[in-house]
Amino acid sequence: MGYGIEALSLSKSFGDVVAVDGLDVQVKSGTIFGLIGPDGAGKTTTMRMLCSLISPDRGTARVGGNDIIKDSEKIKLDIGYMPQKFSLYGDLTIMENLIFYADIYQVPKKERKEKIDYLLKFSNLEKHSYKLADQLSGGMKQKLALACNLIHTPKYLFLDEPTIGVDPVARRELWKILFELKEEGVTIFVSTPYMDEAERCDEVGLINKGRIFKKDTPDNIIGGFQKNIVSIYSDDNYRLKDFFRSLDYVEDAYLLGEELHLVVDDYKDKEMRIIKDLKENGLQINSMDIIKPSFEDVFVNIVKNQQDR
């Protein structure tokens, strides 16, 4: 399988701020690639460069074999791009927005009606087609934006944090749509801050400080994590977190939802020491167990190591 999207040492600075710094990435055609990283890591700038909305300072990239600098207008025929911020016309109705983009992409009259009906159904917006886009909820707006970007049946779809501000049900719907698109052969490049979404990608790239420092399947990234994660439930996680951070054999302690997670090199070896230390300090816990690291655990640790370096 060939690479649909390839970038070679892409770089972009805004004044003194380096947004993207020698970024390399290759995405196989027909897969979902997730760009995962903290805010300000360079996700949006990378995506905008790949869509030819910003010119890179250095480096180059190809989308579907077209150069993002030389063939920028050719690329635009093949891609759909959903910006992070809602960017359709709020003072146009759903239908008017769809027809506008159908006209701009020159979708033939014959296919158009069928395509619009299909997209409305697909995104569950049929009943709202007369509404102004500004009147829609966050989730509906995102589905409309996606629908408008699919009107010309793009081969490459770029989505910049598409599920921000979207409720869990709509999030699941949106991902269902993405899987269907993948089945149809669309290459999807998505950025997200949500780890559960990262796990749904075929491959993920972890980005920090404008550079992708790890790229693999989610399973391999988790599998490559050598340390043990200990999950602790207690009545006072905050106090315990501070306590564990003071112990030298605990590499890290952080909160994930209701749980307190500890990172240790070998749980079997350290279990008794933890129990003993808790007892000596008069601290109570409700349960403690080794767990399979989640993507989030791995991500938090990798990013932390990156920043320490």
């Binding site: 146009l92 006209d103 701009i104």
Partner: protein, 374 residues
């Protein structure tokens, strides 16, 4: 660069949907021309008539009464106050009751009867030079007419005047300032409305973020620019018809030339005016900046285009500057057609300049526009 009419039509349709749903824009389109025309048409009138006048008549003869009738009949003077002393006259003018005072000396009738030169005194409030000028010339006219009558009556034709200047005013024989102002005003209105509307058109999309979605599509710069301009050409055309109708039917300004030619020139002018707006919108970073820039453009346009002050009276430098405003030429065209009844052949130069200007600014706006977000 590819150019597809269907894409342009899509942009035009979209712009109209947006205009239709924006009450502020509709207000600018419909109310601004009417309001400006009424405001400027009435308030900026420099014609002065029915001047409140105070009379101090020391002469009780028939001749002085005839003279005063002459003043009243001219419609320029309304004799509102009768004074009984010079102090009275001062009082009426000082306190602003009257703008002019007529003082007739006691021997007035006597002098006329005996064929001597009779004198009258005209006191004018000169604090407003424009009205003072009108009062002076109107009074001169009345006195002149009266003299001719007296000379005719006495049938003294022994002394022919060495020089007989007979002036005739062409094109606007009543010298009515409304007839002169309205054509220029139409130009100013068209310039203001179109500049205000288009200067937002691109930068608004940038600020709202809709530009980001639009420029990942294959739309070309040319298609976008033309699509952005055509709706406002149509709107500008509606506005000029509105302004013309108001001028002709409300202000009763006679149109000497061809309305068709006038509309043709309006469209030519619209392209340049809109091009300037689009250029502002392309180079502005925010809507606020676009607003400031267009305000910055509107003022010199109004002041220097010849709408307010005659360009002949301006210093050379300013005249040269005013040559770069398309409005300067358009006002010339408007006055030429409406007042003088000029045909196309007299306006060829203006036509060429407006066309070149239009093409130049539109090309510049298209060139300056980048299909990038920064």
């Amino acid at each position: 660069m590819n150019f597809n009419v269907k894409r342009v039509l899509a942009v035009i349709r979209k712009e109209f949907y947006q205009i239709k749903r924006d009450k502020r824009t509709i207000a600018i389109i419909l109310l601004m021309p009417i309001m400006e025309l009424l405001l400027f048409g009435y308030a900026a009138s420099t014609s002065v008539d029915h001047i409140s006048t105070v009379v101090f008549n020391n002469d009780m003869g028939r001749e002085s009464q005839e003279l005063l009738d002459g003043f009243t009949n001219s419609q320029y003077f309304d004799i509102d106050y009768i004074a009984y002393s010079m102090d009275d006259v001062h009082h009426y003018i000082d306190d602003g009751y009257s703008k002019a005072g007529i003082v007739i000396p006691p021997e007035f009738s006597e002098n006329i009867k005996s064929g001597k030169t009779a004198q009258i005194q005209l006191v004018v409030d000169g604090s407003d030079p424009t009205s003072a000028q009108t009062i002076l010339s109107s009074a001169g006219g009345v006195a002149q007419a009266m003299s001719v009558e007296i000379i005719g009556d006495n049938a003294i034709k022994t002394m022919p005047q060495p020089l007989d200047l007979r002036s005739r005013v062409w094109y606007n024989p009543d010298m009515s300032s409304i007839n002169f102002n309205v054509p220029g005003l139409i130009g100013v209105i068209l310039q203001t409305v179109t500049l205000m509307l288009t200067s937002f058109s691109i930068v608004r999309e940038r600020e709202k973020g809709t530009m980001e979605q639009l420029i990942v599509t294959p739309i070309s710069k040319m298609e976008l620019m033309v699509g952005k301009i055509i709706p406002y050409v149509i709107i500008g055309f509606i506005d000029i018809i509105l302004a013309l109708a108001l001028s002709v039917f409300w202000f009763k300004v006679p149109v000497a030339g061809s309305i068709g030619l006038l509309l043709f020139f309006s469209v030519i002018f619209l392209f340049s005016a809109l091009g300037v707006g689009l250029l502002i919108s392309t180079i502005s970073k925010s809507q606020l900046q676009a607003m400031q820039l267009s305000m910055f453009m509107i003022m010199p346009n109004i002041l220097l285009s010849g709408y307010m002050f005659p360009r002949e009276a301006m210093p050379k430098v300013i005249q040269t500057i005013s040559n770069i405003f398309p409005l300067t030429y358009f006002i010339k065209v408007l006055r030429g057609i409406i007042l003088k009844g000029n045909g196309f052949s007299s306006l060829k130069n203006e036509f060429i300049i407006l066309v070149i200007f239009g093409i130049a600014v539109l090309a510049m706006a298209t060139f300056k526009f980048k299909k990038k977000i920064y």
